[in-house]
């Protein structure tokens, strides 16, 4: 059982080792909560009934002046709890050495996928300059988690997150496993259309923009989309993601479990689909 969307920005052991992570958390990621020991994150997983979480950094040096975790820092954090934490890499998709940086992160640091955030990194997913990176991810067999939809970060413009700009990537790289984060809210229906069309597209549940997790997920799954759409057509393409620490894992897990999906579908969301994205099982 896994959370596929966690930002490790509040882990105090890492801030103590790397003081610049405080500025990354406050000024780039825009989170105001207190730093917490790693134990709190692991206990969050425990009370949510989950074993593992995927850690997502953002390489924002070009646009924001510093990264929200370097790949090396992600690997360092994973080493503190290797059975509970799955580390992803992030690189600047417009850098000429982006593909090589990804390969080093996978080969040398043991990271398991790539995180890109178009609103923070200020690029469109279908920018041809990013294509060598997608080609390399395909060759390495690692998935890409792509921010889609609205971002709370103050400088992140909505246009960067529109899922329509993801379609060329899905079409041109049918072997690339892409996870569209945040269900692309407020363009969730458009994202669902892409997921219906492209079997290499997965979506995560890390969507919360008003109300509370229970009400928002119910509104998204039942009213804006349809439970039957997920149950019958997309159940193999949705993964559970919390967006911790903007949302506690426990609250998002509770909301998804109460949304009205069947137990077999919940098993897919919380377990099987994540393993497929990571390449731990085939199919």
């Amino acid at each position: 059982m896994m959370d596929f969307h966690c930002h490790p920005v509040l882990v105090e052991e890492m801030v103590a080792r790397h003081p610049e992570l405080e500025r990354a958390a406050r000024q780039v990621f825009s989170i105001g909560n207190r730093f917490q020991p790693l134990e709190t994150l692991l206990l969050e997983l425990d009370v949510s009934g989950l074993e593992r979480t995927v850690l997502l950094p953002i390489e924002a040096t070009r646009t924001r002046g510093l990264p929200v975790y370097t790949n090396e820092q992600v690997a360092e954090l994973v080493a503190l709890a290797p059975r509970r934490l799955v580390g992803f890499a992030s690189v600047d998709p417009l850098a000429t050495d982006a593909a090589d940086r990804l390969e080093r992160a996978v080969a040398d640091l043991g990271l398991r996928g790539l995180k890109l955030s178009p609103p923070t990194q200020e690029f469109y997913p279908d920018d041809p300059r990013a294509y060598p990176l997608y080609e390399r991810a395909c060759r390495l067999g690692v998935p890409v988690v792509m921010h889609t939809g609205m971002s709370w970060e103050p400088r992140a413009r909505l246009a960067w997150g529109h899922p329509a700009r993801l379609e060329p990537v899905l079409a041109d790289f049918p072997d690339l496993r892409v996870v569209a984060a945040h269900f692309a809210w407020p363009w969730s229906l458009e994202l669902a259309a892409l997921a219906l069309k492209y079997p290499n597209l997965f979506v995560d549940t890390a969507a919360l923009y008003f109300d509370n997790p229970d009400d928002f997920i119910a509104d998204l799954f039942v009213h804006r989309l349809s439970l039957t759409l997920i149950e019958r057509s997309l159940r193999h393409q949705v993964v559970f993601g919390s967006n911790y620490p903007r949302v506690e894992i426990k609250n998002m897990a509770r909301a998804v479990r109460r949304a009205g999906l069947s137990e077999p579908t919940l098993r897919l969301l919380f377990h099987d689909n994540g393993l497929r994205v990571l390449g731990e099982v085939s199919g």
């Binding site: 989170i31 105001g32 923009y209 109300d211 509370n212 949302v247």
Partner: protein, 147 residues
């Protein structure tokens, strides 16, 4: 006059729990050198509390259940205005139930000190009350008095 302030960390392990911190309070009092005075115990958080009650597991559960009935985390019949984006936190507020429990239970306790010991009932225990865990929480213990 001695004034000593100590801050301790309480790591809560579940969403809602009562953590007995009486031994830590008594230790701070004992190490302060104060023989006659006061001790204040307070939490720095607004979704947690400080409670004084009898140290029984069954009573701990009754108190948490009663507070949940008075201030539910997920009410069915109404919502909370706190469920909105808080730009200073970079996240939505959806723990109004925890804040309301904190208001109901209070955030501090005070005890006299006489002869270098806490003056309290034999069954009274001092609890840190977690309403939004698991989290690492701060509790301030201040001792004031004459040596």
């Amino acid at each position: 006059m001695i004034i000593r302030l100590v801050e301790i960390t309480v790591q809560s392990r579940v969403e809602r729990e009562l953590v007995d911190i009486t031994p830590q309070v008594e230790q701070v009092v004992a190490e302060s050198g104060v023989r006659d005075g006061l001790v204040n115990v307070l939490t720095r958080h607004t979704s947690a509390g400080i409670l004084v009650t009898e140290g029984l597991e069954c009573l701990e559960q009754d108190i948490l259940d009663h507070l949940e009935r008075l201030a539910p985390d997920h009410p069915q019949e109404y919502g909370y205005y706190h469920n909105r984006y808080l730009d200073f936190d970079g996240r939505l507020g959806f723990n109004a139930g925890a804040h309301l429990k904190s208001v109901l239970s209070g955030y501090f306790a005070t005890f006299p000190i006489a002869g270098g010991s806490l003056v309290k009932g034999g069954r009274q225990r001092v609890y840190f009350a977690e309403y939004d865990g698991p989290l690492a929480r701060q509790v301030v213990i201040q001792v004031l008095g004459e040596p």
